[in-house]
């Protein structure tokens, strides 16, 4: 299974969700499907994508938040699973694409290669109730739909091949991404406030 195919599958559902990606291949593959103002690409600070997602989910209970994480990144912030479990935001889906590789920095094996470290087990052990571990496109699609319907904190660990895009590059400066992401959220809050 390739991460790019997974992203393609869920892309239509991301239209109205707040999406936070990690750096490198994941960010690029989502961007290549078509940038949206509600996408934030964390191109550094490895490990913090899920923490940003938690901050968004806790402070915006009316929004749905999807974090696109990776094994290399989440291994840098394993405490995040414990913090997520403690606060259990209902509106957060934390996806970890586990390719067993630090692909964007040279393709070195990560600790999950050959099943040494089991990220789904870590998430469960941290106290997260809904954790799915999938390795097929069908399994991934089903896990995502179940997470959307569940309306509770959900973690999906998807085993994917260690492949990424052929070219990297975005027509989007990093602060510009932050400014526009925030504006999209605040505009939506304002519109919702006027509607109610």
């Amino acid at each position: 299974m390739e991460r790019a195919r997974c992203l393609e599958m869920i892309y239509p559902e991301l239209e109205d969700k707040l999406v936070v990606t990690i750096m490198g291949a994941s960010a690029q593959e989502l961007y290549n499907l078509g940038h949206r103002e509600n996408f934030f690409y964390l191109q550094h600070a490895m490990g913090l994508a899920s923490s940003i997602g938690l901050g968004l989910a806790m402070h915006l209970p009316a929004e749905r938040v999807v974090v696109l994480d990776g094994d290399g990144s989440v291994l840098m912030n394993l405490g995040t699973f414990a913090t997520l479990a403690r606060y259990r935001p209902k509106n957060l889906i934390h996806m970890v694409f586990d390719n067993g590789s630090l692909l964007s920095t040279g393709g070195f094996d990560s600790h999950t290669t050959s099943g040494i470290t089991d990220i789904a087990a870590i998430a469960r052990g941290a106290g997260i109730e809904h954790v799915a571990a999938v390795d097929t496109a069908v399994g991934f699609g089903e896990a995502f739909i179940a997470a959307l319907e569940r309306n509770d904190l959900s973690v999906i660990v998807a085993k994917v091949a260690a492949v990424g895009p052929e070219h990297y590059g975005m027509d989007l400066q990093l602060p510009e991404n932050a400014f526009r992401f925030r504006r999209w959220i605040l505009d939506r809050k304002r519109a919702a406030g006027q509607a109610s």
Partner: protein, 181 residues
């Protein structure tokens, strides 16, 4: 070799109840609605207040670097957020401060307990206390020392204002003079 055991002086340290209240009231007066924190002795009474205050959303983290992500999320969400941490936790959060907050121009209003400085009896805090100011300077993070209870509310308000106008991390260092009785 019992003789080789170094005996540390034991001081009965009391965290200032009155000043903790003044600081908490200052945080609320600055319009803060959300706080991320990792429990620390000097911050304990502040955290207790935050925990029991229905107007404040408190997020306790496992490591301070997480709080940088949470603060960014709160900022994107438009919720006024403040970070409480010890200086050693600040050191552990530096990559997030540099490669998320500074890189993306996300403001951070940080209240940092300055352990290991003037009057510090505990050896384990001292190296961190000695280098804190130099690290803040190296990172280009504006900072002030909070020493006077009658000034601290104004300093918190100003730290908040400056973080928002500069889109930068800003630090207010909580000193022993303020935090201990």
């Amino acid at each position: 070799m019992i003789d080789a055991v170094i005996r540390f002086p034991t001081f009965l340290m009391t965290v200032s109840y009155d000043n903790s209240k003044i600081i908490f009231d200052g945080i609320k007066a600055a319009g803060i609605k959300s706080i991320s924190a990792l429990p620390e002795t000097w911050l304990g009474l502040l955290l207790q207040r935050a925990e029991s205050d229905p107007e404040i959303q408190l997020v306790q983290v496992a490591k301070e670097e997480e709080a940088i992500g949470i603060a960014a999320g709160a900022y994107f969400a438009g919720t006024p957020h403040l970070l409480l941490m010890q200086n050693h936790g600040f050191f552990g959060a530096i990559n997030g401060i540099v490669s998320l907050a500074q890189l993306y121009h996300v403001p951070l209003c940080m209240l940092i307990a300055l352990r290991g400085h003037w009057g510090e009896p505990y050896p384990w805090h001292t190296r961190g206390g000695i280098v804190t100011e130099a690290v803040l300077r190296a990172l280009g993070i504006p900072f002030e020392y909070a020493r006077e209870p009658n000034q601290v509310a104004k300093q918190i308000r100003e730290a908040w204002t400056f973080s928002q106008s500069s889109l930068s991390p800003v630090a207010l260092l909580l000193t022993r003079d303020l935090m201990e009785d």
